[in-house]
């Protein structure tokens, strides 16, 4: 129950953060996708199932405040939580740098899927969006994820999912 409330609070807090406050820190009109970053962090720290479920919830609720398609938000954010959880299992220690590299790849993949699924974009528009939206956003997401993980590690003692089972 405590975990459910923690996740519910996190998801509810994300909406005003992403839609109202983050536009103020946007650089060249690009803001980080906090939903993707949080889903990946939950996947890394709590396992792939939690990552998937929290990612799906974030994708669905943020989609209420976006002009994008629901399936795309569900698949990209839920998928980020799931794959972050699965990939984290293959790494003995997750440092902010490793998380940043993983998030860069996840965000690039999610962004490319979204851009190539746009219905009315020309080839020039698509290429422009890859260069000036997808790539900068992936860098921004990676940086944000690394900072958040560093803060979490400094402030909270979070036992990483699977690690105790592996070494006990």
């Amino acid at each position: 129950m405590k975990k459910f409330l923690l996740y519910a609070g996190l998801v509810l807090l994300l909406v005003p953060l992403q839609t109202t406050l983050l536009p103020h820190v946007a650089i060249w009109d690009i803001k980080p996708d906090l939903g993707l970053v949080v889903a990946a962090l939950v996947g890394v720290l709590a396992g792939e199932l939690d990552g998937l479920l929290v990612g799906l919830a974030i994708g669905w609720i943020l989609n209420l405040y976006s002009a994008g398609d629901l399936w795309l938000n569900l698949v990209t954010t839920g998928g980020a939580g799931l794959f972050a959880g699965l990939l984290a299992k293959q790494v003995a220690e997750i440092t902010p740098t490793i998380l940043a590299v993983g998030l860069l790849a996840l965000s690039l993949a999610a962004g490319l899927v979204a851009v190539f699924s746009m219905k009315h974009a020309t080839i020039a528009d698509t290429w422009w969006m890859v260069q000036f939206v997808v790539v900068p956003q992936a860098c921004f997401d990676a940086l944000m994820g690394a900072v958040l993980l560093w803060v979490v590690e400094q402030r909270f003692a979070v036992p990483r999912f699977g690690m105790l089972d592996r070494y006990s």
Binding site: V15, L64, V75, H120, F132
Partner: protein, 293 residues
């Protein structure tokens, strides 16, 4: 240090992969049904999320207004002088337009044309921006419970802002004029040629499908044609800045600078009935306005 236990049972991998596969299959095989199921839940969840969203938005607006009113006052004297000059010039133009309007009114009654009704509108405030970077949209503090529905046009007194694409009980998402997924029927005011106004990713717009024989030129103003969509005729969309005439093409394309700076818009009007009904006098009390756009 706080201890937070977010661990889950280890055998979750198969379950997670299975659920993800099932979700993908449901979304791909039954897109309508799965979307409909989630749409059903959108209303109550939207109302719940609206509370923190409006709270944060009001704090944000409070800080922004304090900044603009007390801190960021540089160049205000210059701007004030420039605006006063512009106001004098506009007063003169307004007088001329009043004369022209009264002449048009006389001629209209003389020719027994049907009087054009005024659109019914609801005022709303922008409380957020699109949660992703891939779409250019804004979030309004009014939704289905205020009578806002999909495809309604959204304007400011200066011109067109966009179109409502999504609603929950208390909020609405407006796809801006500058988004490539938006299409609004436009009309070149001087030549009366029609086309479709689309956004471009760089944050401007373009008018497509202008006939090759059209004498369109830079500086021409584009307004809504009123034929399709949620806009009445004659609302300002933008000004043409460049024209693309390719050899062998069937149509010309023109680049537009939108009349409204959609990235800075804070209050808007949502057009509920673009053509209104003559004789109707007032909008919903407290919520809307009815008048000339």
């Amino acid at each position: 240090m706080w201890m937070v236990n977010v661990r889950s049972p280890y055998g979750a991998r198969r379950l997670a992969l299975g659920m993800f596969a099932l979700l993908l299959a449901a979304l791909l095989l039954f897109p309508g049904q799965s979307q409909g199921l989630l749409d059903y839940l959108d209303g109550p969840v939207g109302q719940l999320v609206r509370l923190p969203l409006e709270a944060v938005s009001s704090i944000d607006q409070g800080i922004a207004s304090m900044w603009h009113q007390y801190v960021s006052l540089q160049h205000v004297a210059d701007e004030n002088r420039r605006l006063k000059q512009e106001m004098d010039w506009l007063r003169g133009e307004n007088n001329q337009l009043r004369e022209a309007a009264s002449a048009t009114q006389r001629l209209t009654s003389l020719l027994q044309f049907k009087e054009q009704a005024l659109p019914l509108m609801v005022a709303a405030q922008v409380i957020g921006r699109d949660s992703s970077n891939r779409f250019k949209s804004v979030i309004l503090d009014k939704g289905e419970s205020d009578g806002i529905q999909r495809d309604m046009g959204v304007i400011t007194p200066a011109g067109v802002v966009g179109r409502v694409v999504k609603t929950t009980g208390g909020t609405a998402v407006v796809l801006l004029l500058t988004d490539p997924n938006n299409a609004i029927a436009g009309l070149i005011q001087r030549t009366r040629d029609e086309g479709i106004v689309e956004g471009v990713p760089q944050g401007r717009a373009r008018l497509k499908y202008i006939p090759m024989l059209s004498a369109v030129k830079e500086g021409d103003r584009v307004v809504t044609s009123g034929l399709v969509g949620g806009f009445p005729r004659g609302l300002a969309i933008g000004t043409i800045t460049a024209i693309d005439r390719e050899e062998g093409a069937l149509f010309q394309t023109a680049e537009l600078v939108p009349e409204v700076d959609v990235n800075r818009v804070e209050e808007v009007l949502v057009i509920q009935t673009p053509h209104g009904t003559s004789g109707e006098t007032a909008a919903r009390p407290g919520a809307g306005t009815k008048g000339e756009p």
